[in-house]
Amino acid sequence: MGTRYLIIGNGVAGITAAQEIRAHDPAGQITIIGDEGKPYYYRASLSEWIAEDSTTEQTYARTTGFYEAMRIENVTGRVDRIDAERKQVSLESGDQTPYDKLLIATGASPNAVPIAGLEDPMAYRTWDDARKIKEHVDPQTNVLILGGGVLGLELAGALVEIGTRNIAIVQLLDFLGPPLLDEHAGRWLERRIRADGLTLFLGDTVERVEGQVAHLKSGKTRDFDLFVQSVGVRPRYPEVPGLETGRAVRIDEHGATNLPDIYAAGDCTETCVRSQGRWQPTRIWLDCARQGRVAGCSMAGVDASLTEYPFLNASILYDIHYAYIGDPNAEGGVAHILENDRAYRKVRLVDGNLAGAMLMGDRRGMMPMYRAIGLPVAEYGDVIARSDFPWNDLTGKDWEYLFF
């Protein structure tokens, strides 16, 4: 009988680990337990689904036959407890499942701000959430989104696409899009969103709700039919006696926790940034997948470790393509900024080396720029913020950089 691998969480971290385990251990038994009752899906495409750009099938990250082809057993259920000594997990249903190697890939849950008078607050994280939101909206719906971060804006963008314009966003800070955007970029986006007719309450919050009316801290009021909270997430993981945690499950560079044969990956973890001596939570898809890969290798006995890659997050903000590369908001150094109606591009140099970039609207050069982090670029001056700067010429001679 092969090694029994048990994975809790049917998301990107869990599945990527399972794929890696299968690649290295053809005989292993792989079981994934998830509590959503859905196959592995892309959270980002929930917005495409709400906007009616993607079908339900298209939000699934793998085809129907995938689990079978990979010989992965997919169980629906919720894990309540992990018994690290007896090496087994208990499900809510009362079932017990033993394991040889365990991966905790349980993701995160949306935060909920307690607001007087607001019953049953809605969030935006899962397929179920998306379905509920979709059921409640039509072009006439009054939508109130609490939180003007990336996720709240993404939802607003999707709703605008299906014709809903009565949207208000209430944001505690006085600009949109943090922590990805700085104030300047936030203002750029704000102009764009206001032009679409959305209402923004910046530097404000909802204090209480009476019926279908939200009372803001500023004294203003706003009617709503649908109230969605999008105020960040917190890591989610089952109780495990003796498991080392901070704000999340702590993992080392091999994806291992402090307990034997228990690994973790994805939004439920934090990793140590050695150079800065601090623990950093995992928050984005790419990092979840990379951790899943490393954990999967380690579980299958293959040597692998997390490399400290420069940060990369590229996606859609409201309705605009953006890329956040490295550390565009690093302390010190110089920032070269290019701004017009179509694009906002900020490139930061620290000690003459490329430290990071924030690109919105026009992202040309983003991938070669990602590979150029750390290279000396001071000699080029402010032309490096332009979209036609030949970043591709600066980077790497490895073959992997040579396909265009």
Partner: protein
């Protein structure tokens, strides 16, 4: 899946893994694809890539992918979906017979006899240019024209390019023939190891000439040169034919055509290497330039490689292109890349719409002399 173990394949795998990890499922890539007639979803591709279990749909689509790069331009997450398609080509369980012919007669080190035989036929076809085919005694020259395998094309661009160089009184060497192929046809058919072999061989041939500048009229050859120079750190500069001619344009006297001409962008040059301007600037010397797409990056691919996979699909792209040219009021279309020209030549001829190769048009427009 059978890997040939080349560095190219290893690097493709690296890029593909990054794509698998970074893809957030927007499916914009597949919506942007000009040849996705089966409406294949991205999740089908990734499922095949990970599991190695093929479906007929995916196999057909991967075969028909023309490597235009539209998918990559559309992706919000920065995934190189085109390279992931290239990796799937390398993984294909079986490939069309025409592909086998295609990669066997290119400059493979293990097919020397076949190449020598096809060269005999090829030389007869190309007349005076034949003397440049697989030349044994390449000389040291600072200017090198690199025609590679497209010397055998029915294209008139190689001859026109040399006429222009002669008119300018330039001294040059010519590298041509399938033995100096850039390897792109090989990657396209999933033969990464052969492709790498050929690019490496190309390097030794270039070193015999030790040029300062290498000029080519094929977008794929140009990309091959850029790749090679990055890898080797060589000191020569690769130029497209329009880039080169623009450097000398003021030494020639130009006659203008009296009809407006549409410009077709080559995928490799405009979308992948970001150089839409030289071809436009050159055409502007000859005629009024008509844009047929919203932006150069939106120009639809010529679909060349479906000559070898799916002719119907190829024709569909051509019909669309012809319709655009007519709609925008252009009386003809110009392209800088010989591959695009080859793909369009027949349908444009049938439709009676002039199709210009930029070098041929420039040669005609400068007959007034230097």
């Amino acid at each position: 899946m059978k890997w040939d173990g080349s560095e190219f394949e290893a690097s493709l795998k690296h890029i593909a893994d990054f794509g698998l990890d970074n893809c957030i499922g927007a499916n914009d890539c597949m919506r942007a694809c000009p040849v996705n007639r089966l409406n294949v979803n991205q999740n089908e591709l990734d499922s095949v890539m990970v599991s190695g279990v093929w479906t007929e749909r995916v196999q057909t689509f991967v075969t028909e992918c023309v490597q235009c790069g539209d998918c990559t331009l559309a992706c919000p997450a920065g995934v190189h979906r085109d390279h992931m398609m290239l990796m799937l080509k390398a993984m294909l369980p079986s490939i069309p017979r025409s592909w086998k012919l295609y990669y066997n007669v290119k400059g493979r080190q293990d097919q020397q006899l076949l190449i020598s035989l096809s060269n005999i036929v090829g030389r007869l076809k190309v007349g005076p240019l034949g003397k440049h085919v697989d030349k044994a005694n390449l000389e040291h020259k600072s200017l090198l024209f690199y025609f590679g395998c497209y010397i055998f094309s029915p294209s008139k661009a190689p001859a026109a390019t040399l006429q222009l160089a002669d008119r300018l009184g330039l001294d040059y060497e010519v590298l041509a023939g399938v033995r100096s192929c850039c390897g792109w046809p090989q990657y396209l058919t999933g033969k990464m190891g052969y492709g790498q072999q050929m690019l490496t061989h190309l390097e030794t041939l270039i070193n015999k000439v030790a040029p300062k500048v290498i000029v080519t009229g094929c977008a794929e050859c140009y990309a091959g040169l850029v790749r090679l120079r990055k890898k080797t750190g060589a000191s020569w500069t690769p130029l497209t034919t329009p880039e080169w001619l623009l450097q000398h344009a003021d030494k020639l006297s130009w006659r203008r055509f009296d009809t407006p001409i549409a410009i077709h962008d080559s995928c490799h040059i405009t979308k992948k290497l970001g150089k839409p301007d030289p071809a436009r600037q050159l055409l502007a010397r000859i005629a009024d330039v008509v844009e047929i797409a919203e932006s150069p990056e939106d120009c639809v691919c010529c679909g060349y490689y479906n000559i070898h996979a799916n002719r119907d699909l190829n024709h569909q792209l051509h019909e669309e292109k012809l319709a655009l040219v007519a709609e925008k009021g252009a009386e003809g279309m110009a392209c800088e890349c010989v591959t695009c020209w080859e793909s369009f030549a027949e349908p444009f001829k049938e439709a009676g719409v002039p199709l210009w190769e930029l070098m041929v048009a420039a040669e005609l427009a400068t007959r007034g002399g230097a």
